[in-house]
Symmetry: C2
């Protein structure tokens, strides 16, 4: 077993495991070298490239898990939504969902026919990391977050269209969410079959909803997705942002461990999730802070973490301005001060 | 006394008072008529126009308070930051704060010399509303939210520059926050002197911070600002968004009443703020929902509200797509079902 998997299971570990969301990404010069003029989706869909990028941070830092280089949105493409990434803008859905008919036209092909580049990449990564005992994490978007992208047509600040659609068309909303559960569930299952040691469900936009709306319009479908993922036997991390006030509802939707953003302290988070193992929750912008501040806040996160069942991570993904040296120093520091 | 002021004081009322953030705004055809090709800042700075716009929703709906037509950002202009509003973009700060020197160059002129168009507008509104017993609310931005605009150069999704500045330059951050307290405090004081019956402090971006950072980098200055505002003898509403997890820290920073966004239920909010009067917290997008859904969620908000000390409002401002008929129906409905 690994520190990472032990911590997810709430077992004691020899030192707190560390990985970072978006640890494979633009802040690394070797990533930018591979990226060059390549299209983002092409990289995600080329197993050799995705595997190489996944391994880059593992070669550089003493991380306790690799996270497969992938994206939340390719599953939407397989359903019939046009997708490309625009520089400086992010993802663009070319034919966003506008009507109930748009929902009914969405396909739900099995991942085995459409999304196998990610499981293939996982196999390549596993071949390199299994001998080293470093687990690999697969992931998928939660239904609400996928629906928000599909309806807004990309990122959003307010998620107005999503909420208005959900309020006005509750029956179509349910059909949409069920289709997303099918597609994301199939994707997670294939990742587990290919060797992913753990699976993370990203409900990155769950915080746009009130507790009430979250419980009614989002959580039931996340629960279905997590149950499908757990059937693979792999532990599932359930990650959300902006939900500090109702982490109890997040935990009730499932997950072996709960990914906590930077909002709450881990002490309050632990209380709200009934003592489930936690992953998080350092503010990723702190990696751009002087060491004095970064160290103080890492100490704080560790002091607030539960005695067992904590995976150190940032509360959101690492951003492009992150200095690689800060990642190295922080990773080593967490291992050092938590060694027992 | 008015229902609104009584509710802010936690006293029993004959029916729950209602007003809406951005009740004077783009969703009203008569607003768009006044607006036409006028520049937004020119409207804010012309007392007759600002007064007229403030009164528009009061003529149409049975609202229990008027909120002065103004904006969070003109105080930044008086400090030396260039400001204009771009269509489809929002506010643009032309010379955002980048260095500690930029902070030290900021002026802190008294509002009596620079911002009197808003107090003048309040006087005009008061002349019309005082005989009708309808109170007028003045407002200003909280230091953190103003600093975030000044550093990001406008709106932002992540507030990366703000956080990195705050972490890297804690001494300059403190000087910036103190200057913002001075300017916003002076502005609120002049609004109270002109007749504002209550004052609201908007910390719209407070939710970008972790509890720890909020308590250390934002709350102490909000506290100073609220103390200045309370010296006028007028009640202060302290509004934040995205802070459901640490509303106790928000309440500790002060305010006679706490403005609650759509995140938490009012039951949990009341618990976290130690029973202070609350204002909120219907999701503003619900006004675009069918009445069936809008009514159900208004019922829910009212059922979760404390028995005394609740001002009905949305959790954020009304958006341009809000149907005026929904505002009318909702306002009357809240009055009707809470009449005692």
């Amino acid at each position: 077993m690994s520190r990472f998997l032990d911590a997810l299971a709430g077992k004691p570990v020899d030192a707190t495991p560390v990985w970072f969301m978006r640890q494979a990404g633009r802040y690394l010069p070797e990533y930018r070298e591979v990226r060059k003029d390549r299209d983002f989706l092409t990289m995600v869909k080329t197993p050799e490239i995705a595997a190489e990028i996944t391994l880059q941070p593992i070669r550089r830092f003493d991380l306790d898990a690799a996270v497969i280089y992938s994206d939340l949105l390719p599953p939407l493409q397989t359903m019939g939504l046009g997708l490309h990434f625009e520089k400086g803008v992010g993802p663009v859905i070319e034919n966003p969902i506008n009507t109930t008919k748009d929902v009914d036209l969405l396909a739900t092909p099995p991942a085995s026919e459409t999304l196998m580049y990610t499981p293939e990449a996982i196999k390549l990564v596993k071949a390199e990391l299994e001998p080293k005992g470093i687990p690999v994490l697969g992931f998928a978007g939660a239904p609400f977050t996928l629906a928000a992208y599909a309806i807004e047509g990309g990122g959003s600040k307010k998620y107005e269209k999503t909420r208005v659609f959900m309020y006005r068309e509750p029956a179509a909303w349910r059909r949409l969410m069920e289709k997303l559960v099918t597609v994301a569930g199939s994707f997670l299952t294939e990742q587990a079959k290919a060797g992913a040691d753990a699976l993370q469900v990203f409900d990155s936009w769950a915080g746009a909803l009130s507790r009430y709306d979250y419980e009614r319009y989002a959580a039931p479908y996340t629960k279905q997705l997590i149950e499908i993922a757990q059937k693979t036997g792999k532990p599932v991390v359930h990650f959300t942002t902006g939900t500090a006030g109702h982490l109890d509802a997040v935990a009730a939707a499932g997950g072996d461990a709960i990914g906590v953003d930077s909002g709450p302290t881990l002490t309050e988070a632990s209380e709200r999730v009934g003592g489930k193992p936690l992953q998080g929750n350092l503010d990723p912008y702190l990696l751009q802070a002087p060491w004095r501040e970064l160290k103080a806040q890492a100490d704080r996160v560790l002091a607030e973490a539960p005695a067992t069942g904590h995976v150190f991570n940032t509360g959101h993904g690492l951003v492009p301005a992150t200095p690689p040296d800060a990642v190295a120093r922080l990773t080593d520091y967490v291992h050092e001060v938590t060694a027992r």
